[in-house]
Symmetry: C2
Subunit: 225 residues, 2 copies
């Protein structure tokens, strides 16, 4: 059985995965981009997102975690709010075009992506192997489709907080990698919330400080020495 993994979830000191008031101009919520500076600085993140690659200004530990987040992944599941700021039915944006994600013509996935939504929509095929599928029958159905699409590789949970929590509550997450950023957001989407007593079944496997964040890896099997 392939594993369900979440990687490089940047969390503020006060526990938020994104700031408040997500919108077209603030896809990560107000202040949310402050959680991700360590990732933006890594060559692998830059390559994945088609940005100019800088050789320095990053931490090698961060680089390794960014690379690891992509290894062995055959499909991604994400929530509607991670896919975009559109709410309600899938209509054209005020600019008159259909919303196809935050990532331009060639998203950094290169595999099937399953977007949880209450509003049906036809799949969208993007450049570079990414296809967005819209799943209206719940997180377990989305996971089943993603497992099949991943064809033996692992499935990644992309986010946001609500989506991660749905899989945590269902006890389906095998690995959860957080990067605790030295930032206070004061509000937004909390990762460890609505969990009815916590992320049951997960335990700390590894804590790796970098010069920018504290990486924490939680897994289903306790491996903390």
């Amino acid at each position: 059985m392939p594993a369900l993994r979440a990687h490089n979830l940047a969390v503020s000191l006060d526990g938020y995965l994104a700031g408040p008031r997500q919108s077209l101009d603030t896809p990560l919520g107000v202040g949310g981009e402050r959680l991700h500076g360590w990732a933006f600085a890594t060559p692998s993140f830059q390559r994945m997102h088609g940005l100019p690659v800088t050789a320095d200004g990053h931490d090698e530990v961060d680089e390794r975690f960014i690379v690891r987040g992509d290894e062995g992944i055959g499909a991604t599941v994400m929530g509607r709010n991670m896919f975009g700021p559109v709410r309600g039915p899938w209509e054209a944006t005020p600019e008159g075009r259909a919303w196809t994600g935050w990532w331009g013509d060639e998203p950094p996935y290169h595999h099937p992506v399953f977007v949880l939504t209450h509003h049906p929509r036809e799949p969208i095929t993007m450049k570079g192997g990414t296809t967005f599928h819209f799943v209206t029958d719940g997180p377990e159905a989305a996971l089943a489709q993603a497992v099949e699409a991943a064809a033996g590789l692992d499935v990644r949970i992309g986010g946001g907080a609500d989506t991660v929590q749905q899989y945590l509550r269902a006890g389906l997450v095998d690995e959860l990698h957080l990067a605790i950023a030295p930032v206070l957001l004061g509000g937004g989407e909390r990762l460890f919330d609505h969990l009815d007593g916590g992320p049951a079944g997960l335990d700390v496997a590894e804590v790796v400080p970098s010069s920018t964040v504290t990486h924490v890896r939680l897994t289903r099997t306790p491996a903390w020495p």
Copy 2:
């Protein structure tokens, strides 16, 4: 003006300062003691609490933070729940004795301690210079009394979460030192809660990983490079 400082506040990965269901048997809430192993292992903590001092098994970074938490402190303010599990009026415990704190005859303070409570009580003088004063007219009154008693030294906020939050909301905290422990509690008292938009006015000054926890120091003046 002396500073108002909180030190060595151990916080779980999911943001809790103490576990759920504090009682006589579980002063730190269920599972709460798992947050404090790093502190218990330090010689300074052991000396302060009259325990046998072990020379190894601790991290020197942790030891330095434990020492720093006591330096230059002339008085402590704490909440009723940190002082003890007694709720309601100050009557004798089921064992027939008056509650005088968790710390035995000689508490580790050696200075005046101001306990926030709704129930008046005469001061209690303990061995070693600790006097417990019970303050019924609110956190600002307790702080004013503590500042006077500290006679030029700083005032420490002892905890718990509710007490720290009262001073954070009032914008009175000058330094807040957290030790993020690789532990999930799943419930309890959250530190960064009820803050109406966060611990305003504080910023990350320092992040110091030890082999056991991640120390984070927040101060009023931004000093993060």
